[in-house]
Symmetry: C2
């Protein structure tokens, strides 16, 4: 079978973050599939078709691209950030596992990108400089009890925590509840970073502390990093502070 499917990470939203590999994969595609706002970031190319779909339509979008590839096309699914982090690569794999046997013979390539937590961390210092985890706060696809259990485990063991999908219109209370839960394990002064639209004109990065984090603005496009007991803040005159987690931990209780 000659068809090809690429799953391409665009990075956090500016062409400065698009890798040459991703750029070449975009150029080689006959057809692009993706959430509308991600497709809008990709310059139009003659002869290349575009298939926009809604944010929540991951599985049908993956299936449509696979069908197209199975007909011999070079299809590409575009994804913000990295396609492997709470994004389209897992949806494509799911479709391949449960779809026609022939899809397993397709040439599939996944092109990594800069995921939001790396972009936000870079803007503020090195909050992910030591052990950390990435957790989606969406309870659309897993029970809320499991999210709480993971927050407990991560904060209790001293991981810095990057929260993806922190809030949406349909999920208004989860983020505040998560911050309250984390207060069981972490001091009020724990640094919390809010990053949005890094690398775009409307970029916004703010630093607060866990006790007031619930009052800070966040939306679906915000990536939040909650520090550990080790995370430090370096004040700087006239600039955002530097926030970092040291590479060394002296104490087991940390």
């Amino acid at each position: 079978m000659s068809g090809h499917l690429a799953v391409i990470g665009l990075g956090p939203g500016d062409a400065r973050y698009l890798t040459p590999e991703a750029d070449a994969a975009l150029a080689a595609a006959d057809a692009l599939y993706g959430y509308g706002p991600y497709l809008d970031r990709v310059p139009a190319r003659p002869g290349q078709s575009r298939h926009a779909s809604d944010n929540r339509e991951e599985r049908p979008r993956a299936a449509a691209a696979l069908h197209h590839a199975a007909q011999g096309a070079r299809a590409a699914v575009v994804s913000g950030g990295d396609p492997g982090v709470f994004a389209m690569a897992a949806a494509v794999c799911e479709e391949i596992e449960w779809g026609p046997e022939s899809w397993r013979a397709l040439d599939v390539s996944i092109v990594p990108g800069i995921t939001a937590m790396l972009a936000v961390a870079a803007r503020i210092g090195a909050p992910l400089g030591h052990d950390f985890c990435a957790l989606s706060l969406s309870d659309n696809l897993k029970p809320w009890e499991l999210i709480e259990r993971r927050l407990d485990a991560a904060a209790g063991a001293g991981f810095v925590i990057a929260l993806y999908n922190p809030v949406s219109r349909a999920r208004p209370w989860q983020l505040g509840t998560a911050f309250e839960r984390l207060r069981r394990h972490l001091p009020a002064s724990t640094p919390v970073i809010f990053g949005r639209a890094v690398g775009r004109a409307d970029e916004r990065v703010a630093v607060g502390t866990l006790d007031v984090a619930a009052t800070m603005p966040a939306d679906m496009a915000t990536l939040i990093i909650v520090g550990s007991r080790e995370t430090r803040v370096i004040a700087r005159a006239g600039r955002l502070p530097l926030v970092y987690t040291p590479r060394a931990v002296a104490e087991v209780n940390a």
Copy 2:
């Protein structure tokens, strides 16, 4: 103060992964500081000095670059992968916190890159498609007991685990001990991915299971991903399997 310090992520080792932002930051530097093999990846530019140092010399390297920047230069520290993930950005922040007050006035920019776990994950499917953590297995800078506690917490709560710095000449037994520890929480059949030198000529990616993982080859440049109970393997004729972690979890016990 006019000095500038950039901390630049080169990605996993091939120019296809170097972002345009990182490329521009490299071109703008008067002086490059870094571990020799990382510097060797950067093409020489006229008028740009290069200062190679040994792998374990992070703090002195950061201090040297900061001193140079404080003299008004555009200094850059280069890092493999992403500088914020077990790499140079935290070392630079540490030096700024404990160094001369004037260093806080320097213009510091951190340029993110594709970190190893994203590159390895992309090669094999989407093993990081759901909640995951990144853990350095080096006990040079933290007690081994803390690493075990974090392995317990992460595996017990269902995180996929990316292991950085899994082994070295001075740390021969830690990786095997970590796999044994994870067996307390995870079935023998749990997928384990070994990735090395992704994007380079000697790239090697292999998939095994937790019960035999300790027999598979690994070195300091290997990135290991241990799946969760949810992680799935899709066999494919004549190719590496696809390994992915589904976006949905139905059960709290997962």
